[in-house]
Amino acid sequence: MSLLVLGLSHHSAPVELRERFAYPETAVPGVLARLREAGLAREAVLLSTCNRVELYVATDYPGAEASTALRTFLARDRAVPVPVDHAWYAHQDSRSAEHLFRVASGLDSLVLGETEILGQLKRAYDVALQNGCTGRMLNKLFQAAFSTAKRVRSETGIQRGNTSVASVAVELAEKIFDGLKGREVMVIGAGDTSEKTARALLSRGARSVIVSNRSFDRAAALAKDVGGRAIHFDEWEREFAKLDIIVSSTSAPHYVIDRARLANMLSQRPSRPLLLVDLAVPRDVDPAVKELDNVFLANVDDLQGIADEHVRARQVERARCDVIIQERLERWAGEFLMVCVAPGRLAFE
């Protein structure tokens, strides 16, 4: 019996192809049962996320033959033509284990080191386990993958730092305010990134979001989505005294907030920090405002720069992760794989 993984991921296939092979969770027990009934696998786990569809099997078929048979099976099951070969990848035995360890640790993810994949993998394994589709080989393999991911997470910095503009804006806010709970946020201009930023701030405890936009209807729609309050564009200054964070992303060709105007507004309120997140291009906020005491300005380049720094830091950690994965792979092979598979079947590198 050999171990095999067959998959499509964001590395190998466009979303148009991945979505055709994606399975909703409710359909997974059925496909696993059909796979076993067809005699293609003794044990099977199906992972289906927006970025990958992967089938992990323990099968009696030889490697290349199993790969072809499984591809044909999946295509028939989804009623789609078999896609071109290069869109699929297949790994056998120790390479399939290594691939799983990397996936579980977030090293194969679109955002390096992200943790959501581990939860998705645990869920996929749980579905297979509950439906009796796993056995000794996949149980050992997935347990080893989960413990490897845990070790990678705790012993390296692969998951440290945020990598999206919205989450970096929140991280910056947390370096200014003593907690985000109860903070008042205003969104000026109803753009996509400002909406994500507002949602991220709300998720960390911000009290409410006031949305101001030239089109009041768009402001009202966004306010409804995020559970906030819409105001007319020319009214935002009236709300200023109670604001802690302003996220601006209008398409105005000039500054919406300039230094003199802001200095005047600040004199009307108690001394406390104000964070201005300027996501607009051209910029909405005069860069000279950062000379004002207690005013902090971050534009889209600042935030992207921090996100890039986090990505670079994660890349540096990749080598340390690889060492852990290799250690765990050797241990897994020594302890379990030789018990499950006849000696001489596997060629470890």
Binding site: G161, V168, E171, L172, E174, K175, I176, F177, D178, G179, L266, S267, Q268, R269, P270, S271, R272, P273, K290, D293, N294, F296, L297, A298, D302, L303, G305, I306, E309
Partner: protein, 273 residues
């Protein structure tokens, strides 16, 4: 103890603080990205030898060792290092050592100047009230010192947040709003202690010499410092008087205290009879 005098033990402590101060330069350059146990350990060893010095001096004179400038400096720096060791048990606050060690080293080097450790007759106050007065005043300056350190951290992080956001985000320094709260709280604590210390001192002056106030340089200086901190606290309530300006004020007043505490002590007939 081990054939070493109290000054020897204190010198060892100052050496540890000196090494810590050098090591802190590295931490400053790195931007406090990780908590650091090396500096914590160095300061812990320093605190141990520092405490030994305090005990030896205290037992040798059979009273709280705050009777001359050497002892006063030793007591203030001990307050600061002890506070750091307590706060440093929380891993995220261990970076505070990078701010505390240069101050401890500077205070220690100053305290070791020989002319500051002269054992004259007992000052005008007697019994435990003298110790209480001195202890309250010195604890107040310890709190003001910590407040100035928090204000320094505020300025460092505020500068990063304005001009080097990546460094600010990667730093372990707490949010600046919390630093401002800590600065203010320590300032209030110091102000309360200073007020209590001055009241005790004035009351005993009245008992001993029949008047509450005198034109003694140290008394005048103490009242000036007390007024400066009061003005800072009042101004902090006003709009536009928080943040950077407040931090500069706190550091400025404490720098004045550090630079003039010793020079006003020497000509004081009450404190340096």
């Amino acid at each position: 103890m081990f054939g070493l005098t109290d000054r020897n033990w204190f010198s060892l402590a100052v050496a540890c603080y000196g090494v810590g101060a050098l090591y802190s330069v590295l931490l400053w350059r790195r931007g406090f990205r990780r908590d650091d146990w090396v500096l914590y350990s160095l300061l812990a060893v320093g605190a141990l030898t520092h405490t030994s010095a305090m005990f030896l001096r205290g037992f040798s004179i059979d009273r709280c060792p705050i009777n001359n400038l050497f002892e006063a400096s030793m007591f203030i720096s001990w307050t600061i290092v002890a506070s750091f060791l307590v706060l440093g048990t929380w891993q995220r606050l261990r970076f505070l050592g990078a701010f505390a060690s240069p101050l401890l080293f500077a205070l220690g080097v100053f305290a070791l100047f020989p002319m500051l450790d002269e054992r004259g007759p007992k000052p005008a106050f007697v019994h435990g009230w003298e110790s209480l007065h001195a202890a309250l005043i010195l604890l107040a300056y310890g709190a003001f010192g910590l407040s100035a350190l928090a204000a320094l951290m505020y300025l460092s992080q505020e500068h990063n947040l304005k001009f080097d956001k990546t460094r600010a985000v990667l730093s372990l320094l707490p949010p600046i709003q919390r630093l401002e709260k800590v600065t203010t709280a320590l300032l209030w604590a110091g102000f309360g202690l200073l007020t209590a210390g001055l009241i005790v001192g004035a009351w005993w002056l009245q008992q001993q010499q029949g008047y509450f106030l005198s034109g003694d340089p140290k008394v005048v200086w103490s009242l000036a410092v007390w007024s400066a901190y009061l003005i800072l606290l009042i101004l902090h309530w006003r709009p536009l008087a928080g943040g950077r300006r407040f931090a500069y004020g706190v550091i400025g007043v404490f720098a004045f205290v550090l630079l003039t505490f010793w020079s006003t002590n020497l000509p004081s007939a009450i404190h340096n009879p």
